[in-house]
Amino acid sequence: MTAINLVIGDLTSIVDDSVQFYFSIMTKGTVLEDAVLLFKRVAPEFVCTSCGHVFTGRSIGILCPGCGGKSIIADKGQEFYIESIEVDDGAD
């Protein structure tokens, strides 16, 4: 069995079900037909503009849990990549 580990940030417009849907169509009749997609979602991270504290949250405009300062979006949440694949090498 082959498994593909995907990492998708919650700030992207990528929907797991859609990826799965198209993956199934595209792989039909290929060696990847039975491959399993495993989705790892990444919540956005915010950084406080006053104290630099980094925290996760669901939406923008959240005040810093540390100091109450205003936050902006940090790096995480925009991912869309293949992290790894797991393939059966017949070793066991």
Binding site: T2, G61, Y81, I82, V87
Partner: protein, 228 residues
């Protein structure tokens, strides 16, 4: 041992083409502006006004992205503006491949501003880099002041934000502070221009800023080619 080669970044193919576009544009002294907004926010109107104000300083070319129709391209063509229409069919955004194919159809014999009207959509266009120099997001007072909170990703890309239809601000009860707080909750506040394509207010500030961006790029690129 089964071994499968994989590409790590799933949009890598687009990113590579975007890089190729960027090289092409740099070599031809083209400043590329990717204009993103909701349907009807005033992308076409802003492009027309921008060319009206800056048309004697730079050459212009326009790429129109719409799912269907040539309506916007015909408006440009009627004014003698070089234009390519891309119809994306069911796709809700432009990608680097489409831009690469359209961009080579123009001739660039002097520094050119290429304005790209992306498909009206606040979601997907932000994920596909085109090889642009600047990403501009146009909000309009008619769509409400809460959009940065609902569509943060597109604002994350914005090198400048325009609020259009300011002539309707009062009628729309558009809360400028709430809007600006929303943009500032996404990233450090980018340059903001409040414009009206209807009564012309704020347009000169916007085009002066854009002109400044051109001077920077053309100055730098011209310097580069002199080094060779």
């Amino acid at each position: 041992m089964a071994r499968i080669e994989i590409r790590r970044n799933i949009l890598e193919a687009n990113d590579n083409l975007a890089r190729r576009n960027r090289d092409f544009f740099a070599g031809n002294d083209v400043l590329v502006v990717n204009i993103m907004a909701a349907p009807g926010a005033g992308k076409t109107s802003t492009i027309l006004k921008t060319i009206e104000y800056l048309g004697d300083r730079y050459a212009f070319a326009v790429i129109e992205g719409d799912m269907a129709s040539r309506i916007d391209a015909d408006v440009m063509a009627a004014k003698g503006i070089p234009v390519e229409q891309i119809n994306t069919g069911n796709m809700c955004h432009l990608d680097a491949n489409m831009i690469g194919q359209a961009a080579v159809k123009f001739t660039y014999d002097r520094p050119t501003l290429l304005l790209i009207e992306n498909v009206g959509n606040l979601v997907c266009p932000s994920e596909f880099s085109l090889g642009e120099d600047l990403n501009i997001v146009i909000a309009s007072t008619t769509e409400g002041h809460d959009k940065p909170y609902k569509y943060p990703s597109i604002y994350l890309r914005a090198d400048a934000v325009l609020i259009n239809k300011t002539d309707l601000m009062a009628a729309m009860e558009f809360d400028r502070k709430m809007f600006c707080d929303g943009v500032a909750a996404v990233k450090p506040m980018p340059p903001l221009f409040e414009i009206s394509c209807r009564n012309g207010s704020g347009l000169s500030e916007w085009v002066e800023w854009l002109s400044g961006q051109c001077e920077r790029k053309f100055g730098r690129d011209l310097g580069k080619s002199a080094e060779r």
